[in-house]
């Protein structure tokens, strides 16, 4: 039996297409082609998706400035790069391996060469590459299935790629799809495990909904995240995209189209076969982009106000069309894919009911009334009469009458259609659609669907009261039960589409239990009592956890500069410290502070101070980060200087941004220099006339000092607020207040209710604030904060009208950062952004807590926990090393 079959027919077909499609935008390619096998692409935009090994090769070659170095040649063409999906080169026996080979034409003539795909010496097929002078483009190859397991060598354009083919073991109760993903190190599996057992983790609050589209807060998304899967996944090491439900992808040369090849044979958790492009389109078009739906992720599907489009090419191929090149597109493709077969009848857009179709029909006729009137006014009048009869029948829900009136309407429509001349093709088509609608009305009426479903129905679907069998997904776990405010139980999805390198189906655990523990002290005690297996401890818990670590030398392993793993042998715990987390704490001054009291000149003076960069620099020098780290975070934090989270790949690792060392002397000197001096000897500096006259920014300089009153009444004093209840922030504030007092700046600490604080922020009526935002690997997620028109640009909303020069540049940088695909270039862009922010100090960044994590020592595969995923990471690859726990 021919066990390895590649899509030879389509390769040949596309070889011809490639020859003939120069200058034709890829979007116009006939959609009936089964595989979009080839697309042009420039070499540099692909680094993000490079295989790990290749990246290292690249790094080794970093000394060479030219990124266009060739790897080999095919005739006169140069092969500049080969992308392999999956980058781990691990594949199941019936699985898909895909290649994007990038070739360049270095000559001055048009060149056509045949590129062949060879597997273990056997030629599987070839494609013809026809390139214009100097052009670089890619060709897409796939191998689907191999004769038997083992090592294989694939030769493509003179490049050899070694592939390991893995034979899956029998499924445990369900089915392993033919195209299963083999999970390897970059996806979180350090060692293959053994199946069985259950894990119990704590969560602060129960889920609010189990609908992943509308779920907003983590208590819900933590649970739904395990029940669903996305097209693309993110690697833990570097946050680069990895194949999920899409096995491979190609980016068009204009970077506006992304073609995704979907995994074959993936079953839904209810056993339904199979996941396909229809589900992808349903998820994105009918749910997230549907205005009726309360999508929590919709904002990620818009690029500058324009929606991203999704097109079905065939059951296994989806094309994503961006209005502009949009680098963070991969984050938008991680959304949970939802089952059309379960949910389609919950979406109002897809279920208008008899009434909905009737309304649609009426609208079509209304829109074309004039054209129809010209053909036959008599018929139109008849149609109106018959339609109103139909309306009555539908409203009174009488099936027989509906049938009769529909028939009458159809007759009239057909009569009209017959009267239309050939030239009016559009009108014919319209009438045709109207006829279709009439059939639909009868269909819907017969199915007793008169009114159609409510637009709110989907938002309330999959709520907490829904029976477990209704929840269907593609994630590693299935929903079993929610015991209100006590626990959520999930069980292994026996149809899950991932296996480990031994061929064992994932996930290893039979059950995944969330214990709901609202109080963190209680959670800590429950971890001590052994009731929960994993804990995300606070810095204050850490010393207690480390008590059982007797010998730091022997019990702790330094895995990298960031990661330390300790074994507490007394309590049998594994304690992991893994570098800084996402999110940061900062101090912000309101540069529109006059809005606090527009009629008081003092605030105008204070605004001039806050807007003066040297004042902010002085304040930055007065922040004692070391003390904050030692006294408040138990030493478990690092200083932060940059607006990009430290673990983000776009963090400027060279730290070229400005740092302000702790020096009260320097701070005082800076303040003295701009005339902010204590003129009345009360120990608090004053906003002096000298400052207002000579030093304030020109646009803040008052022409007339008279309304400001005597300068000794203008103390340099402001309210430093933070949200009450956040103990860490409250302590930071009191520490800052002390230090500021030492340099004669009087800050009044004020913990505020969170909602009141948000109110002050959004209306620009705060004075100064210690606050934090969540942060993420992707700096573009901060555009709401950083762009001058951003909703959260609360430190200076007025920049929207009158942006300072550096802010204009930040706007540009954010636009560039989102549309540039060259990773090095993107890093340069965000580096400049980090420098600008550190020089202009709209925020004074404080410190960043380290990621802390504790688990039972016998939990396997969790050494690589990364902040982005919290304690729930790798839910599908964790396993119990202890045999007793596996039972």
């Amino acid at each position: 039996m021919m066990k390895h079959w590649i899509v030879l027919a389509t390769l040949v077909g596309l070889g011809i297409l490639l020859g003939g499609c120069q200058g034709v935008p890829p979007g116009i390619k006939p959609p009936e082609l089964p595989q979009q096998e080839k697309q042009e692409q420039e070499r540099k935009e692909q680094e993000k998706r490079e295989a790990e090994r290749q990246e290292q090769e690249e790094k080794a070659k970093a000394s060479e400035p030219s990124p266009e170095s060739k790897l080999s040649t095919v005739g006169t063409l140069e092969v500049v790069r080969v992308e392999v999906f999956p980058s781990s080169r691990l594949v199941t026996r019936d699985g898909t391996v895909a290649f994007n080979i990038y070739v360049r034409n270095p000559t001055a003539n048009e060149v056509a060469e045949e590129i062949a795909l060879v597997l273990d010496g056997e030629r599987l097929g070839s494609q013809k590459a026809q390139l214009k002078p100097g052009e670089t483009r890619h060709l897409h190859f796939q191998i689907r299935g191999f004769a038997k397991a083992g090592r294989k060598i694939v030769e493509l354009g003179g490049q050899k790629v070694e592939i390991s083919v893995i034979e899956p073991q029998p499924a445990r109760g369900g089915v392993i799809p033919i195209d299963a993903k083999v999970v390897s190190v970059p996806e979180g599996l350090s060692e293959p495990g053994l199946p069985g057992g259950k894990i119990v983790v704590a969560t602060i609050s129960g889920p609010k909904t189990l609908n992943p589209v509308v779920a907003q807060e983590t208590s819900s998304t933590d649970v739904t995240g395990l029940m669903h899967a996305g097209l693309i996944e993110t690697r833990w090491e570097d946050y680069t995209p990895a194949p999920g439900l899409a096995v491979a992808w190609e980016l068009s040369p204009d970077k506006k189209e992304l073609t995704l090849h979907l995994r074959r044979g993936v079953r839904w958790s209810d056993g339904t076969c199979c996941f396909s492009a229809d589900d992808v389109l349903f998820t994105y078009k009918d749910l997230h982009l549907n205005p009726e739906v309360n999508s929590a992720g919709r904002d990620l599907l818009y690029v500058e106000g324009q929606p991203i489009e999704f097109l079905k090419i065939d059951d296994e191929t989806v094309k994503v069309i961006m209005p502009k090149p949009f680098r963070p597109i991969f984050w938008s493709l991680t959304f949970a894919i939802l089952p059309k077969h379960k949910l389609a009848d919950k979406v109002a857009k897809l279920n208008p009911g008899a009434k909905g179709y009737l309304e649609g029909l009426k609208k079509v006729l209304e829109d074309n009334r004039r054209a129809l009137q010209e053909i036959s006014g008599e018929k139109v009048a008849e149609l109106d009469r018959r339609l109103s009869a139909l309306s009555d029948a539908v409203n009174t829900q009488q099936l027989d009458q509906v049938r009769a009136s529909v028939k009458a309407v159809q007759e009239t429509l057909q009569a009209l259609q017959a009267a239309v001349t050939e030239e009016q093709a559009e009108l014919i088509a319209t009438l045709h659609r109207a006829l279709d609608d009439t059939h639909k009305i009868v269909e819907q009426a017969e199915a007793n669907k008169w009114a159609g479903v409510s637009p709110e129905l989907f938002n309330n679907t999959w709520s907490l009261g829904t029976p477990a069998s209704e929840f269907v997904g593609l994630g590693p776990y299935r929903f079993v039960r929610y015991d209100v405010d006590q626990q959520v139980i999930l069980e292994r999805n026996p149809y899950y589409w991932k296996i480990d390198p031994n061929g064992v189906q994932l996930p290893y655990f039979d059950q995944f239990v969330f214990l709901i523990v609202p109080n963190l002290d209680t959670a800590f005690l429950k971890f001590k009592a052994g009731e929960i297996d994993v804990l995300g401890p606070r810095p204050s818990d850490w010393p207690q956890l480390m008590e059982g670590v007797r010998d730091l030398e022997r019990d702790c392993v330094q895995k990298s500069s960031d990661v330390t793993i300790c074994l507490n042998s007394v309590n049998n715990w594994k304690l992991i410290r893994n570098g800084p987390t996402f999110g940061e704490t900062y101090l912000a001054f309101n540069q529109d502070v006059e809005k606090v009291a527009p009629d008081k000149p003092f605030y105008k003076a204070l605004q001039a101070v806050f807007r003066h960069v040297q004042f902010r620099k002085a304040m930055a020098h007065a922040v004692d980060k070391e003390s904050i780290i030692e006294n408040i975070y138990n030493g478990l934090a690092v200083p932060q200087w940059s607006p990009v989270s430290i673990p983000s790949p776009y963090y400027d690792k060279s730290e070229s941004f400005t740092k302000y060392e702790y020096s009260l002397q320097r701070a005082a000197q800076l303040l003295d220099e701009i005339g902010l001096k204590d003129v009345d000897g009360d120990g608090v500096r004053n906003i002096t006339d000298e400052f207002l006259k000579n030093f304030a920014n020109p646009e803040d300089r008052p022409t007339d000092l008279a309304p400001f009153g005597p300068e000794k009444d203008r103390e340099l004093e402001f309210v430093l607020a933070t949200n009450s209840g956040n103990q860490i922030r409250e302590r930071i504030v009191s520490l800052l207040v002390n230090d500021f007092a030492k340099i004669g700046v009087k800050a009044n600490a004020r913990p505020m209710d969170f909602n009141a604080l948000v109110n002050q922020l959004t209306t620009s009526t705060f004075e100064a604030m210690v606050l934090g935002l969540t942060g993420s690997p992707e700096p573009n997620n901060g555009s709401n904060v950083w762009k001058t028109n951003g909703r959260l640009h609360f430190w200076r909303y007025s920049s929207k009208e009158k942006p300072p020069a550096w802010e204009k540049r930040v706007d540009e940088l954010f636009d560039l950062g989102a549309t540039t695909f060259d990773e090095d270039e993107v890093k340069r862009i965000y580096k400049e952004f980090q420098q600008l922010v550190s020089e202009n100090l709209p925020y004074i960044y404080l410190v960043n807590q380290q990621f802390l994590y504790a688990s039972k020592a016998e939990l396997g595969n969790n050494e690589n926990f990364k902040p982005n995923w919290g304690v729930l990471a790798f839910a599908d690859t964790l396993w119990w090393k202890d045999e007793k726990r596996r039972q």
């Binding site: 907003q216 209100v484 006590q486 959004t762």
Partner: protein, 382 residues
């Protein structure tokens, strides 16, 4: 008597209405609303915010302190309308019948089925959220309530009859300690002691029940993970689940009970002392009645009046008594729902629960009045 009860019940209606208005608007005095927490989320755009506001009916602002009333009035009316005029227990959004106990299924002739609104957070009807939590709440509060009363009454009597004795002093000190230590703190200390010393010791003695993985080693919550779920009613439980429950219950009974015991005991003692010093007690003693009869028949029955009033007032405590303690001890109770609803500005949920507490208080007062009449022949309402 019956006419009195009917009269009281009728008086409740305007009282409840006034309470509902005050409760609703006082809660709204706090700045912000349910949407505020989304406003600082950097990934949510203005359009999405508006979308959510529209979905929940929160478009109009409700900030009484800033003079923005329109939203408040609208939401209050929405809620009141649902409670008063709703006739069917059908979810208007999904068209499904709510699976809860409802007035209309029991008393269809009333054509009335109060709809208490829905929760902004979970989109579920408030009544569903409430009923889901009620049984487990009662499992915590009823034993605690009984414990507090059954212990404090005898203690109070004991302390009063032996005023300034060693026993009285000890109970007084313990009582004041119980009153002054914050409950949640006591709960934490108790749990810490359980985890770090008691259960390891008991396990060390070979008692398997206290070893890790068994109910005895678990702290907080009502059950170990395996016993959560299933029927909330004790008559359906296995012996193992019973033991599990009892082991988890006693810290709560001790912690929550200790503070109420102190208060109740002191009141009981004071009342008893008051009565014991009155002249008719002297008369009773003088005519040679036994001390037992003097205390239990003559003194206690008179001293109970105040206790009965207190009993009536403590009825809401059955549902919403020990908020922070319930959270620290991880009990899935109505209190926790109330607390989370307050924090999330889940208006209809907060309002309904407040009203429920108010109704319990009114009923408790009525019960106390009826009981008083029954206990004390001098009290007549007609």
């Amino acid at each position: 008597m019956l006419s009195y009860i009917v009269r009281r019940l009728i008086y409740m209606i305007p009282t409840l209405w006034v309470i509902s208005v005050v409760a609703f608007f006082v809660v709204q005095l706090a700045p912000g609303d349910f949407l505020t927490k989304y406003k600082l989320n950097e990934r949510i755009s203005q359009e999405t915010l508006q979308h959510i506001a529209r979905h929940l009916g929160l478009e109009k602002p409700c900030e009484p302190l800033e003079g923005q009333w329109s939203g408040c009035v609208e939401r209050y009316w929405q809620w009141l309308k649902g409670v008063l005029f709703s006739s069917e227990s059908i979810d208007p959004q999904t068209g499904q019948r709510w699976q809860v106990w409802s007035v209309s299924t029991r008393f269809p002739f009333l054509h009335w089925n109060p709809d208490f609104g829905f929760s902004f957070e979970t989109n579920q009807p408030v009544s569903v959220l409430f009923w889901e939590r009620l049984p487990l709440t009662l499992l915590v509060t009823v034993p605690t309530f009984l414990f507090a009363w059954l212990v404090s009454l005898p203690l109070g009597i004991y302390a009063a009859t032996r005023q300034y004795s060693l026993g009285d002093t000890i109970f007084t000190i313990l009582g004041f300690a119980g009153l002054s230590i914050p409950n949640f703190f006591l709960a934490l200390v108790l749990m810490y002691w359980l985890v770090t010393s008691l259960t390891p010791t008991l396990c060390g003695w070979g008692l398997g029940f206290f070893c890790p993985g068994n109910p005895g080693a678990s702290v907080g919550g009502l059950f170990v993970q395996e016993h959560m779920g299933g029927s909330p009613w004790p008559w359906d439980w296995s012996l193992k689940k019973w033991l599990d429950y009892l082991w988890h219950l006693w810290p709560a009974v001790l912690v929550i009970g200790s503070s109420s015991i102190a208060g109740l005991m002191r009141v009981m003692r004071g009342q008893m002392l008051d009565i014991l010093s009155s002249q008719y007690i002297m008369t009773a003693r003088a005519k040679g009645l036994s001390e037992r009869v003097v205390i239990y028949k003559h003194a206690l029955r008179n001293a109970l009046n105040v206790m009965i009033t207190l009993f009536g007032q403590s009825l809401p405590g059955l549902i919403g008594g020990a908020l922070i303690t319930a959270i620290v001890l991880n009990f899935p109770t109505v209190e926790r729902l109330f607390y989370e609803a307050l924090r999330a500005y889940d208006d209809y949920l907060v309002q309904t629960l407040l009203m429920f507490f108010a109704i319990l208080l009114l009923i408790g007062n009525l019960l106390a009045d009826i009981l008083l009449a029954w206990v004390d022949p001098r009290i007549r309402y007609d």
